[in-house]
Symmetry: C2
């Protein structure tokens, strides 16, 4: 019996409610072996396309009020959490093996002095003309940047996760052998000021949030499920090499050689390294398709402390 | 030490995120005495205006996909749950008294054969012209009705809540003395078919959901917080009479005399009666403003079994 944090890509969830429900049937099937083996499981999901969609709906709609990005993230946790807990409930019913499952709406603490707030880089929401962009900078205080000829977009900070505010609730449920969905989309980012928590418009990388979650709940393994079976060196070139087993030291060297793409494999590698460094436990990057094998460490890139 | 279910009106939450955060500071203050006294607390909130807003954003937006009403409800649970847990966390910080609090995204079971599905009555979303309404009936299978000269609106069913799917998670958290926000908006309505749960476009009355929740978790008292201090007979007439203490028998008689307004006081009375009948425990209808007194049964209408 081990304790796992599973990080699930927001791109694996589809573009609308119907697609998301279909895709999650496969996710539920993939995760079921861990459930059946009675392991402790926390599922952290991405929300990039989904929170973008919610944000877009509110900005395009003319009769609804402005909706802050943190609140859109909270909505995406309800939306995606509902579908995941529903899909896993249903597969358990099919298999005749039941464990309680639920979603905890999660705030994740970030540092108001995180340097990321000085250099927002994460594009969110719709495209605007230069004039509209200037107007939004003035009226809303947004930071707007040009996005490769497609127009102007708002960018928000991507600060590092420091704590999961609802961790005690998550631990209580794990203690009772329940499956938990939490820190969806990396969590609703909150900062602390005079002891109070305030939501901020930012995006916490969901792999970094998974790593922090895994550290906090003392997970035995962090599993990042993505679209590729392994981490590759020289990806998509004739020199492509599959990385099956690696260590912190080896990855440090590879990072210096800039092997991994920003916004794609790099944050996953960095998140795994943070978890492995903090806990000396292994992390795995594997494909959703081969999740069952990855749970047995028979597929995916395994990152060990030494 | 007692166990309470507190039902909170969606109209008390405001029209946008800023207003909601402000109003919830007052709600948090009102509920704090129960928290400090170490009682078990489950908070069920309404979501009428909020789920309407989310639904409206998606129907007005041109580039986002159609969003089913059940999913909009799930979003409202994330949105409102985040704000409630944040507000209560903050008041606890101020008072230097902390208990864990979190929101459980909740599915609530309804019967696919509930007669309510044959007679949908609950108006949701935007107003349409007659032509648009006919088109929506054809393309989406919606039931559209004319709304008092203001145009056509979709109506959905308001079936009775039968079970809270995530009850085991809620009970685990209560057992660990944590505060739980659950079944927001009456819960995401799901039907069971061949052992699987499916979300349906419907609205479960949040007071009825609170009563069912209170019954399931064996609450000692159901408290419905609303805009008025008491239940009144002949409300807003010279014969207005305050109902302070009452019983199931007395209420049965008053119901026959049609004393209470549909869509307003009637569902609250019926929800209280259902809880009191099932458990022989008391229910209270009181104002949010005098919640602290209501918790001590010094304000509000108390409904006893006998």
């Amino acid at each position: 019996m081990s304790r796992y944090v599973i990080s699930l890509g927001g791109n694996a969830l589809g573009k609308n409610a119907t697609e998301q429900k279909e895709l999650l049937k496969e996710v539920a099937k993939a995760i079921f072996p861990l459930i059946e083996a009675n392991h402790d499981i926390v599922i952290v999901h991405g929300n990039g396309p989904q929170v973008g969609m919610i944000n877009l709906a509110f900005s395009e709609s003319t009769s609804t009020p402005m909706m802050p990005f943190a609140e859109c993230g909270a909505m995406s946790q309800g939306y995606i959490g509902f579908h995941i807990q529903n899909a896993i409930y249903n597969i358990m019913q099919e298999k005749g093996f039941h464990r309680p499952i639920s979603t905890i709406v999660s705030q994740v603490l970030v540092d108001v002095n995180d340097p990321a707030f000085q250099h927002p880089t994460k594009p969110i929401g719709s495209f605007y003309t230069k004039e509209e962009a200037l107007e939004l900078e003035k009226s809303q205080g947004y930071t707007m940047v040009e996005d490769a000829g497609r127009g102007y977009r708002r960018v928000v900070a991507s600060p590092k996760p420091l704590d999961v505010i609802e961790k005690t609730s998550i631990l209580s449920l794990l203690h009772d052998k329940q499956i938990v969905i939490a820190a969806g989309g990396g969590g609703i980012p909150v900062i602390e000021k005079d002891g109070h928590l305030y939501g901020v418009d930012a995006v916490i990388d969901k792999d970094h949030a998974s790593a922090k979650m895994a550290e906090i709940i003392k997970a035995d393994e962090l599993i990042i499920l993505t679209a590729v079976d392994y981490v590759y060196l020289n990806f998509n070139t004739p020199e492509q090499k599959t990385l099956k087993n690696t260590t912190l030291d080896e990855l440090e060297g590879l990072l210096k050689e800039n092997h991994f793409k920003k916004g794609s494999m790099l944050p996953k590698i960095e998140a795994c390294m943070a978890f492995v460094k903090a806990t000396k436990k292994p992390a795995v990057i594997a494909s959703l398709e081969h999740a069952a094998l990855a749970f047995k460490q028979q597929s995916g890139t395994i990152i060990n402390y030494k």
